[in-house]
Symmetry: C2
Subunit: 112 residues, 2 copies
Amino acid sequence: MTKSLDIMQGTLELLILKTLSTAESMHGFEILRWIQTSTQGVLTVEEGSLYPALHRMQNRGLLTAEFGVSDKGRRAKYYQLTTKGRKRMVRAETDWADYVQAVGQLVEAAKT
Amino acid sequence: MTKSLDIMQGTLELLILKTLSTAESMHGFEILRWIQTSTQGVLTVEEGSLYPALHRMQNRGLLTAEFGVSDKGRRAKYYQLTTKGRKRMVRAETDWADYVQAVGQLVEAAKT
DNA sequence: AAATTGACCTAGAACATCTAGGTTATTGGA
DNA sequence: TCCAATAACCTAGATGTTCTAGGTCAATTT
């Protein structure tokens, strides 16, 4: 394991939204693993960050949740994107891209 | 003015370090303006964020400071990168690049 | 003389993430 | 059978950064 970076404030929501867009529904633990594996372990979300984030997003109407049974036969809470969540995802993505571009511009400008 | 994005937690330090690397020394207001103009107004740092950040960085030995006189004949506090600050800058830059890449990977993976 | 600008400052609010705990139930091994 | 490990969830409080919203002082402009 090379190193794992802390999640930057404001990006977790994007990561969750994007992750949830890959399936009809996923439960928390799955989301956690998917974030980790899809980034080859560079991004690791703590459970103590993820669950509150999911609750916040549900409260804001970005997600719906219902209990079900996981692959391994255990009780699990399945989350789904709402229409609002999908719109938010698009916005979060462009905001992130804009931010990255702006930082890139500054870094480039500093080379001169 | 299209829109200005909030500074994401953890990135201000990188922005300041990079900005200071463009000159021997700069004072706070200059740093503020440089961040804004080099990103075409996309990133705007509030004074209430900048000054505490500069103080933190000085305390950590990343910067030194001394009072002088600005272009416009006003009292101003000039900051300089220390050797430690320069090292920190390199690290902050690669961390940022790694982070961006990881998020990019996740977003790409979500397209499948 | 008054208003604006330049430059600096701080206290407290807001907010998200992490730390560090805890719960329950199932599975696997000794 | 019993115990440990795993899966899955949860929350309270600590931490740390940024923003809001003020304020000061001196020089320039009106």
